[in-house]
Subunit: 153 residues, 2 copies
């Protein structure tokens, strides 16, 4: 089973322009051309693209992704470096997930805050909900305290 550039674009939610751009940038070294010059994508190429998307989604730049692809092309001598790269990415991802959890706490607080404001009819009245105020202290107080601990004054 093989795919045209248009089919792949559709599958992955990219444009054909973007795929050719990736190809030009050296991110798709495994994509072959048919005798008539058309790009032919295999399942393997889809896997590559899925990994590219994964690394991109983790915040890696195309330049660094290209470095990874280059290592893959180089062969077995880069196995350890590739392993290290993914270990570092994992650490990064763990931090990102932690970060998102903290954002979630703040957003949940804001939802509770504005729900209360809607119920009471005004922002000013929210302060009378002691429970919410305690929650606010917990979330922002802690964050600000962390900041204060971080600096050197």
């Amino acid at each position: 089973m093989t795919y045209s550039i248009g089919q792949v674009a559709k599958k992955l939610g990219l444009t054909t322009h973007t795929l050719r751009y990736y190809d030009k940038e050296g991110l798709l070294p495994s994509v072959h051309k048919s005798s008539s010059g058309l790009r032919v994508f295999t399942e393997k190429d889809l896997e590559w693209l899925i990994i590219i998307e994964c690394l991109k989604g983790c915040g890696m730049s195309l330049k660094d992704i290209k470095h990874y692809i280059d290592m893959c092309m180089q062969g077995d001598e880069t196995i350890l470096e590739r392993l290290e790269m993914f270990k570092k990415q994992k650490e990064h991802l763990v931090l990102q997930m932690q970060q998102l959890k903290e954002y979630m706490e703040k957003i949940d607080y804001k939802i509770a805050y504005y729900t209360e404001a809607a119920k009471r009819g005004s922002i000013d009245a929210v302060q009378y909900n002691k429970c919410l105020m305690k929650e606010k202290e917990r979330i922002f107080g802690q964050t600000i305290k962390n900041l204060t601990e971080d600096d050197d004054n």
Copy 2:
């Protein structure tokens, strides 16, 4: 307790340039100026900046963040719109967290893959680890199947 622009920059890991830029863009309407024209930041302003960072970290553009700030300045008539905004952000955040989990699966697979390659001394030899191959099928097979279901062919 108040803070100078430099102290705030240090606390939040921004530059004074960035803070003035935010101010110019209307993201810091609550920051006052001293009689001599210096920006004076309060705890309240730190909270604003923490929320800005939160929304930015969730992927919201400065333009949309400004829209939120503008709503806050408008008063109680925007309470419901603000509530909706945070509810939408929460949904978005849930998807992001789900996404990161899927990335984590792929990265964990790659770590296992390269660990095995390192142990066996070559990429080619990894295929003999049936367990890993099954894992690969589970992770990529599923992702590709999802893609295939998504399109209209």
